[in-house]
């Protein structure tokens, strides 16, 4: 486990070293080029601000209102049929909207059930295999002014649902 963490704390610095060394070898004026790239990045980030604002406010209203509970209740028959715990469904819905909120939910599940319980493992697996679909779609398309997102939302939801089913299946299979 300690190995896991130290591996990832080494990777980024090593990547940076590799990039700069390669740049110097190839005679790139690294500082000037770095600042050019950083400028592009800053302009991009500024363009994002209104989209972030919109998404954060909308998601927080949705979460605070308890609307997710209503959806979970409405989907109850499906959940029973597929044997998905309600908490897991709740987590995977929150996960599509907000990364930090989903992470804190996972921690809450660890506290309630224990990290090595069925729910704890399922929550970990879910978090590791899904992403903040709506958030990513809104921010990525927003940054370049795309208004018609075509089929990216249904495709993203299908993938998230697949990882919910796959997580439930594999955690039952491996640990039960």
């Amino acid at each position: 486990m300690a190995e896991q963490i130290s591996v990832s704390s080494w990777i980024i610095p090593l990547v940076i070293v590799a990039v700069f060394l390669h740049g110097l070898i190839k005679n790139v004026r690294v500082f000037e080029v770095f600042t050019q790239g950083a400028q592009e990045g800053l302009l991009l980030a500024i363009k994002l601000v209104p989209y972030l604002l919109g998404i954060y406010v909308a998601v927080s209203i949705f979460r605070e209102s308890g609307a997710v509970d209503l959806i979970v209740k409405a989907l109850n028959p499906v959940i029973r049929l597929l044997e998905i715990p309600a908490d897991a469904l709740f987590l995977s819905i929150v996960r599509t909207l907000s990364g930090p909120a989903a992470l804190s939910m996972m921690v809450e599940i660890f506290d309630t059930y224990g990290p090595d319980s069925f729910m704890g493992r399922l929550a970990s697996t879910l978090m590791g295999s899904t992403d903040t679909t709506f958030y990513v779609i809104a921010i990525y398309f927003g940054s370049i002014g795309i208004k018609k997102t075509r089929y990216s939302v249904p495709a993203g939801i299908m993938a998230d649902f697949a990882s919910l089913l796959a997580s439930v299946y594999i955690v039952k299979r491996l640990f039960e």
Partner: protein, 196 residues
């Protein structure tokens, strides 16, 4: 997106009325607005830094040589991106950062990839097929080292924090496969209805 946005806000407010939680809506919304700006400022630093690094890698030809290595797979996934286009490099960097579990590092490359994909777009307000494919793969999240999750499991007192690695790999592979297949199916389907 307009529909999702409206659904989140209207659905949220109606649900709050139903659940009797109206009191907490306004403070939550304003608090979120504040958080969004804090995040945005944070993001500026991170995005600026990573795109600076990426620019160096791009100028030195490093990204080019790596993307040539992965090119065959990418050409199959993204048939509409011409050979050697900078979008390939950014997509590659985004997916690698994602795989290693560096959420923060992935976003700048993802945004850059979208910007470059947009240069190939004949209708600037409509998503291209390459963008949809990219987002499908991206949001299905191919994670190899979920560092944050393992750290949080350890913090919660797990006996074996990394025992979920295999399960995550299985689930993430399933969801990415579904994403690729769904994207492909939707692409064909949309081509048909949009031609009409």
């Amino acid at each position: 997106m307009n529909w999702i946005f409206a659904f989140l806000i209207l659905g949220g407010i109606f649900a709050a009325a139903w659940n009797g939680k109206m009191d907490s809506i306004t403070p939550a919304a304003l608090e979120a607005a504040k958080t969004a700006i804090e995040r945005a400022i944070n993001l500026m630093g991170v995005v600026g830094f990573w795109l600076g690094i990426a620019k160096v890698a791009e100028e030195s030809g490093l990204i080019n040589s790596i993307s040539r290595f992965i090119a065959p797979l990418f050409r199959w996934l993204f048939p509409s991106i011409p050979k050697g286009h900078p979008a390939m490099g950014s997509i590659l960097m985004n997916l690698s950062a994602n795989m290693l579990g560096f959420g923060n590092a992935a976003t700048p490359f993802g945004l850059k990839a979208m910007k470059e994909l947009q240069t190939l777009n004949p209708n600037p307000d409509t998503a291209t097929e390459a963008m949809c494919t990219f987002l499908a793969i991206n949001t299905s999240s191919v994670t190899l080292i979920p560092a944050t999750i393992i750290a949080l499991r350890a913090a919660a007192g797990s006996q074996n924090p990394s025992e979920v690695l295999g399960a995550i790999l299985f689930a993430t592979t399933c969801s990415t496969l579904v994403a690729v297949v769904a994207d492909y199916a939707f692409r064909l389907f949309y081509r048909k209805i949009e031609r009409r």
